[in-house]
């Protein structure tokens, strides 16, 4: 077994790991009960799965310029994934698309309550 074959096989293994994470996210999307837990499942392949595939491409192409071209892909995903997750999580909380019984403690509710009371005294808040 030559070094090239070993590197190709290693790339295949990394691809398999990335695809496995993707399937895990799909199962999570199907089986989890509410939007917040589905969000937790769907973010698995977004960073780690992409990292595995990028490593597989770099192992298969075996050149530094390819790795340098692939790094911005990972950086863009790492920069934007938390922003979209934050926006979706905020919208999920505000529209009430989650199961309140699964929360052990809801610290945001009292904070929103207090903030809306301080802003407009007397008016019943929508929060």
């Amino acid at each position: 077994m030559t070094a090239d074959e070993i590197l190709d096989l290693l790339a295949g293994v990394f691809l398999l790991l990335g695809a496995f994470l993707s399937v895990a996210a799909g199962v999570g999307l199907l089986r989890f009960p509410d939007a917040l837990s589905r969000m937790h499942a769907a973010t698995k392949p977004q960073i780690l799965g992409l990292l595995f595939v990028v490593v597989a491409i770099a192992l298969s192409a075996r050149s530094w310029s390819t790795l340098l071209a692939l790094t911005p892909v990972l950086i863009f995903q790492m920069l934007t994934a938390p922003i979209s997750a934050h926006m979706v999580g905020r919208a999920v909380y505000r529209t009430g698309n989650f199961d309140k019984d699964t929360l052990i403690v809801d610290e945001l509710e009292s904070v929103i309550d207090r903030a809306s009371r301080d802003d407009q005294p007397g008016s019943d808040s929508a929060s």
Binding site: D8, L9, A11, G12, V13, L15, L16, G18, A19, F20, S22, V23, A25, G26, V27, L29, L30, A35, R38, M39, A42, P45, Q46, G49, L50, V53, V54, A56, I57, S60, A61, T66, A69, L70, P72, V73, L74, F76, Q77, T80, A81, I83, S84, M87, V88, R90, A91, V92, R94, T95, G96, N97
Partner: protein
Amino acid sequence: MSMLNIVFAAVGVLLTAAALMALYRIVRGPSLLDRMIASDMLLTTIILVVGTEMVYNQHTRNIPMMLVLAAIAIFATVAVARYVSKQDKREEAP
């Protein structure tokens, strides 16, 4: 080489299954936000498929496509999440 072909076949089956599960959640998802989460995950799966195709066919021409997809994945999700309203609350079971 045949072992590598089996690996690629398995990767293809797994990614297809993941995309189909995301598609099911887009069609069925009870609320708009469930659909946006699923479509975000579908886009991630597409990025993985584009990368896998590069490994299989031994070229690097798809890297700009991966870059653009990773950079614009945020827009649709943020736009919809910003303007989703209280009317999209999940309907209670009767």
